[in-house]
Symmetry: C2
Subunit: 416 residues, 2 copies
Amino acid sequence: MEIIERANEEAIRRMLAGDPVLVDVIPAEEAIPTLGDRMILHAGPPIDWARMCGPMRGAVAGIACFEAWAPNLNVAAEMAASGTFTLHPNHHFDAVGPMTGLTTRGQPVMVVENRAFGNRAYCTINEGLGKVMRFGGNDAEVLDRLCWLRDDFGPAMGAALREMGGIPLKNLVARGLTMGDEMHQRNVACSGLTLRQLAPALARAIQDRDALARCLAFIGGNDQFFLNIAMAMGKAIMDPVRDIEGSSVVTAMARNGTDFGIRVSGTGDTWFTAPVEMPEGLYFPGFSEVDANPDMGDSTIVETVGLGGFAMGAAPAVAGFVGAGLASEAGNFTRTMAEITLAENPEWSIPALDYLGVPTGIDIRLVIETGLAPTINTGIAHKEPGIGQVGAGVVRAPLACFRDALRAFAQTLGVS
Amino acid sequence: MEIIERANEEAIRRMLAGDPVLVDVIPAEEAIPTLGDRMILHAGPPIDWARMCGPMRGAVAGIACFEAWAPNLNVAAEMAASGTFTLHPNHHFDAVGPMTGLTTRGQPVMVVENRAFGNRAYCTINEGLGKVMRFGGNDAEVLDRLCWLRDDFGPAMGAALREMGGIPLKNLVARGLTMGDEMHQRNVACSGLTLRQLAPALARAIQDRDALARCLAFIGGNDQFFLNIAMAMGKAIMDPVRDIEGSSVVTAMARNGTDFGIRVSGTGDTWFTAPVEMPEGLYFPGFSEVDANPDMGDSTIVETVGLGGFAMGAAPAVAGFVGAGLASEAGNFTRTMAEITLAENPEWSIPALDYLGVPTGIDIRLVIETGLAPTINTGIAHKEPGIGQVGAGVVRAPLACFRDALRAFAQTLGVS
């Protein structure tokens, strides 16, 4: 139908016109003034405590202690079970979060501004690898790091970004694609490119040399530092694509560890959900699939803009890490995703595929027609609270979300 | 012959056992105590002023002014023509230099120690892109930068390296190969990996915050910063491979802009030379092949250890930059170079080629048998002094060097 073609052209135009710039780091309560006391934003579509998976429960208990809403983890869990905390998806508040993805008012958030449309999106700072809250960690080491991010690192990074006028992300990501990153499970290049832009401004922003050295080492020691920036970028790019009447383009994919949810431009802010699937992947020594939690996090926003599993061809080294087969065949994932998308992004291209642009604009009609579900590169959390990451893998978005979305989309156009 | 097989096995063993660590930056006169007054080390095999190409003459005049041996460029050129300066190859003094490659006592040099064998190799600090001495630049901007490297940057980088105990290079290069670098014409990943290791130590080493910010911005703004480190690494790896009786492995390839020269393990420190060829490549806007100087520099030491043109498959993005054809076919260069080498390096592998190790140990017999000359990725200098880089391309080592070397090698074994 012509209305759909025109609407999708507009959706693609907005996606490609996006001009995301990392501009600041500020407390979440400043970024999101409605983020009140005892209010917790989480990854994925809406969910209550009763249906939450283990690692997300662990993170909820941990963040309640961090915010001094609870004296310890046990009390925090009891408070959560009795409904003391208000729970909402990040996506309802211009935010995204990796894995458990909790955002609360006391945490610092990075601010990505889409200068083509004026909207802003927020994401917390990546905590690094090992035992971290996004994978359900919640002990003293985890909470101490969150305090340091709030009190030292976040304000310094914010000051540096303001001094330098922000870091434009479109070109930075373009370079990262020539350096083996797909911006979901591999961010080592973009993390380094960010550090080299940020380091001189950090040097001017931080008085104490040991404090400065710690900040520089924190970024330099975290190969996934850029992930949360890529996520805020993805959210900032996709939000202006929401609510285009007649557009069948996916504007968000997210999971809470229990449900997978998508939103489609033409159906507004409705979530279409289905039970989330288990990643197929590789496990760290000592762990196996019996330890794994189903897939989780708002990080699928990077696939929604054509990166992550969609850009696998740019990152042959990630294929081994996530157990996706031969490195030399990583390009096949990208070519397959081109079958369910409407455009190539000419500014984000993959040298090894002779500068093929990343597949852009997932069309729910193409997903259902081809039966090809979006490929997502993901981390795997332990299913129990308090443990952390146990592996990495590939997961498919459940087709049921797309079927339900297509049915609702057809109704908006008066067809069944 | 069995003596050759045994000797080459030993050569490969030493190459693969090399453990290069970037340990310090010190004045060249400390690193090389025999580097005296009015003494200039240059790239490539031996050459006198009369046969020197334009950009190398430009650099000689410039460095004489930098060292205060001459009051201006004209006088410096007259002094050079009348034999005032003593000229020697870098390779005769444990050193290497990119393009014109001049080393003099007042410049700082980076020190790479091969911890498996105890030897050290030296290279000056990469000046960045644009108008620089290695491409024949010699104006006030070029000399001012050399002074800053000597007085500020070099001492700070040396202090940082000493404080942190050095940067092991083998793993760093291995990571770079997964991030699109081939370490000759593409060093953006390894430059970033170096910065992230160095930055915290620089923060502790430099008191003044603006001075620190300038140093961090200098590294972060120079995608070729790592090239000179890779070169010192290559020299440090190859020097212990010299002088193995009966080995037909190439231990050095270098060019001075007039001649191309190689050294072979079994024939000791003899240079086998032939006229250097013209790179085939791409030119910066406003320049063409009529402006180009023939190939130049000691940087071919990186191909000698299996990187650069030999590792093209790791760097599809460089194929376009040097005009080497389709990015998707970059792996063909690597596979072809495997036909003239004796081993794969299991620690330096290329994800996109399903972790094929880089081709290691050029055997002059295989070069002559196959007629395949080593592929070198190179920068192109303007043929006149004082101008600078005009492009980048691919050049083949001239086969005549290998023919002459093979003849001499046969004589050492008593065959003709």
